[in-house]
Symmetry: C2
Subunit: 253 residues, 2 copies
Amino acid sequence: MSAILDSFDDISKASPEPIYQQIKQTIQRRIESGDWTAGQKLPSENDLVVALDVSRMTINRALRELTQQGLIKRVHGLGSFVAEAPRHASLIELQDIALEIAQHGKRHSSQVLGLDAVSAPPDVAVQMELPTGSKIYYLRAVHHQDDLPIQLESRYVNPAVMPGFIDQDFTGITATAYLLQQFKPDEMEHRVRAVMPDQPVRDLLAMQDSEPCLQLIRRTWSNDQVVTYVTLTYPGDRYELGARYATTEYQLR
Amino acid sequence: MSAILDSFDDISKASPEPIYQQIKQTIQRRIESGDWTAGQKLPSENDLVVALDVSRMTINRALRELTQQGLIKRVHGLGSFVAEAPRHASLIELQDIALEIAQHGKRHSSQVLGLDAVSAPPDVAVQMELPTGSKIYYLRAVHHQDDLPIQLESRYVNPAVMPGFIDQDFTGITATAYLLQQFKPDEMEHRVRAVMPDQPVRDLLAMQDSEPCLQLIRRTWSNDQVVTYVTLTYPGDRYELGARYATTEYQLR
DNA sequence: AAGTGGTCTAGACCACCAG
DNA sequence: TGGTGGTCTAGACCACTTT
């Protein structure tokens, strides 16, 4: 019975991370690694109170937020359980495509098409909230899943925030993974649209004629500055974005 | 100074609604109605503790969840402020298209193409988590913004949960609005994809040839039953889905 | 120094669900 | 009836920001 509780060994009150965060991360890691499988019962709040020697409100906050994320399900009077795994790529989370592909048991590879310092054109400058003509970094890359192209990445990065970006080799690490190591986003904006690719894009993604693309456009802020502005283009027949989550009041308007 | 605090008059400890929910809804209504504008400072937690005579933890939970929704922003040491209004149609919220169009100052109209009880085909039955051949309701409608078609709605509804659905007149009220009146969703699944419309869809949406569509597919659960399964098809050049929100740890993987 | 939010505690009462 | 989660309280300490 203590096999599950052993997972919480590294919770420390001396850590700079809040306790409820440590608890969340511990549970999240166990679920995402597959250690804990869908439907499995978690320790009760009172079990955790005793095992971790923290107050029930702290446990409750951790579990409540995991419920909001959809990682666990709670049933009043019954207990907490690991939720079913989502079946789709994440729409509202910032996820690294290399990880995502790996989680589906496929092989990821990247091809960098270019990485330059350029002068921001007006439309890009507006999106980056910088003056037109500012120096910005511009990365283009194609991501493959088992050698089939699945994502075209066109990314602008603010050099004031990420000076080291231009010197990175993005064949070994994705830009998403690199950026997540470097800073902590505090705001994101997503837009999704359907577009017809032009011929060069069609070629890069190995697409048929008359096949549409799904485009995900994302801006990410840290400390009220736009850090990166990226357009991800997916072949319409090879990709779907999705999300599944428990609702709380506020999502209904 | 008490002008803002007067908004909280209707908070009641006797209500079946939790106090933190009442506080959230009060603030949310004030923001969405435009009473409180972007950047405006909210009362501090301690102000609210005194004014509402509730504990600070309760206030804190309400404000924290509003922050997660992106409705307000909080700055440590400074205060809480009304956030900027999102610029795009909601991607992760369940929003009524009639409301959404109205909020943009345009006129909404619906045209019902059909509302029938049908026998569930295998693919639909799977999505609805019902046996193949079960009786289900099937609604098709087109929504217009200032007389320009903007959304094609193809919706299946579980009659076991929503027996009255078939008798409704959906020219005066949208199916989304009707369903939200009738039940409280506790789980949602969204998928987004890009597709090429066939000729009938192109005609209904008044689209050019070779223009793609954005499709939003949504399933909604209540009490572990699928209540409705809907495919919303948008002209690619007239619509964009989006979301902007403050991030918390968990959205980074 | 004063005010703010971020977190945590150690209790409490209640509604729900299983046996 | 006993275990569970949902909510709430009345304090507390701390880090951060402005004055």
